[in-house]
Symmetry: C2
Subunit: 321 residues, 2 copies
Amino acid sequence: MKLLFNTNFLYSPMDGVVAVHAPATVANMVCGFDVLGFAVKEPYDEMYIRFTDKPGVTIINLDAYNLPTEPELNVAGAALLAMLEEIPEPIGFELSICKHIKPGSGVGSSAASSAGAVVAANRLLNDRFSKQDLVRFAMNGEKVASGVKHADNIAPCIYGGVTLIRSIFPLDIVPLTAPELYVTIVHPQIEVRTADARSILKQQVLLKDAIRQWGNIAGLVAGLLQKDYALIGRSLEDVLIEPVRSILIPGFDQIKQLSKEAGALGGGISGSGPSIFMLSKDEATAKAVEQQMHSVYESLSLDHHTYVTTINDTGVRFVNQ
Amino acid sequence: MKLLFNTNFLYSPMDGVVAVHAPATVANMVCGFDVLGFAVKEPYDEMYIRFTDKPGVTIINLDAYNLPTEPELNVAGAALLAMLEEIPEPIGFELSICKHIKPGSGVGSSAASSAGAVVAANRLLNDRFSKQDLVRFAMNGEKVASGVKHADNIAPCIYGGVTLIRSIFPLDIVPLTAPELYVTIVHPQIEVRTADARSILKQQVLLKDAIRQWGNIAGLVAGLLQKDYALIGRSLEDVLIEPVRSILIPGFDQIKQLSKEAGALGGGISGSGPSIFMLSKDEATAKAVEQQMHSVYESLSLDHHTYVTTINDTGVRFVNQ
């Protein structure tokens, strides 16, 4: 993404500006549909916020995605408006956004905008709100993006690492300590609308499949906390969502199979897709997995981007502070 | 349970007898239907095994429950027969059982018999088989008892502590380290057949309920491994099975509510019932919970037994060795 402005020139800490990097996130984590997610180191969005005299929210786009700048229609704007509702004094925020995470890629582009905005704004406010408050505000951005207040991208973006959202109402976020994990992501340049990916799901599932699913999520949580890579690998199985949603993603089965043959622990659809992620124990394997992803999409003549990165334990990161 | 024989007199290590205590177990653990279970210190069955010249399995009842002694119809016998199928040499086992865990109580009476038998037999065989093998053999006892090969009582009985059965086919057992927990169990003297408790369940469930359930099991596993008592308490919620099955257990809702008011972290149906269990952080609370259980069943004029115990980290225990 080519920048429209040289942001380093525009903003410096001298201006009372808070600058953040808001990372991409992978929701669901195969067997944890709607309740698990993790942040990655790359890609990330750059965001800059400062107070302005004009109360309310002003959005400035520094990228070429041409996203709405009306605060109510902008995911970051909606998150900031929710925050302002709980601030008694009249305050104005000017938020400048340079997105590098392509909207609709399935790696939490909207969550990065919403989460980055409220984390940055909270620093301007001397950290008045808790992380849980920030998740609550940012979920309003997700509602703008997909119609549903969900937190499986927002929570890891704000807390970093792997997070469990045990419950949305009431909000109960559980950070999970994970061992070192390398992440390979491939983003095929096709569009899968979150709303479509949701509507394709059945509202009823077989109890026996649900049991298998919660055996797997229990195994995945135990594998992460006990640093048991083999258990993580065995638990990365989704018998409910993946079989339905993966048909929307060309080459999915082949990428999964070749990635595992290349040594990946496992992986699946990132969020509602179309991106696919794979977890590996070391960087060499993660790069070998990337090669397999390239080869599948080259054979299908499908444009795609790949990332080899790691789990991001920090979440939204302050820059120049 | 009054013993028919003085077992201390009958058997001693001098006779080449292996003696074990096989503990009661609590399956499901509220949100972990079919995949979680834990062992308790009390009650437990006493079992004695030795080689005999007669190949096959001979069962001797030392209690007054009058359970079948034909090995194929006896849960411990069926488990030993499954073990014998994988032993090339002709071997005879003589197993004497003194049950203290009442059959049908919902705290793994059949599992104690099956698990105790194969653990004791394996010691006679100089520990030829792995714990996982023993679970596999003992599951044949569960099939005799309830028609289904399940491991959520067997696995904790053999491994001790809290165990996750991530998968039955293939068998994948994950021991989970738990913090100190006190367990109060009440067994109302009514009969709930496992088959009835199974048939009452719906084969299809709402996806949104399943999501809530796997959020809870993920929270429970994280709470146990991170020794977070509050999280354990919040996660002990079952939106799928308990609402259906609890109608078979008189006083269930009242006992649950009063137990929580007395300080219990939470709890629910033990296995398929009728026993109810509650977890507490300390013994005083566990005893206060016991008093609440007494008061509810006394007000209903319902005969009942209670136990205040702790999680049993050992599982089946060798005696006099």
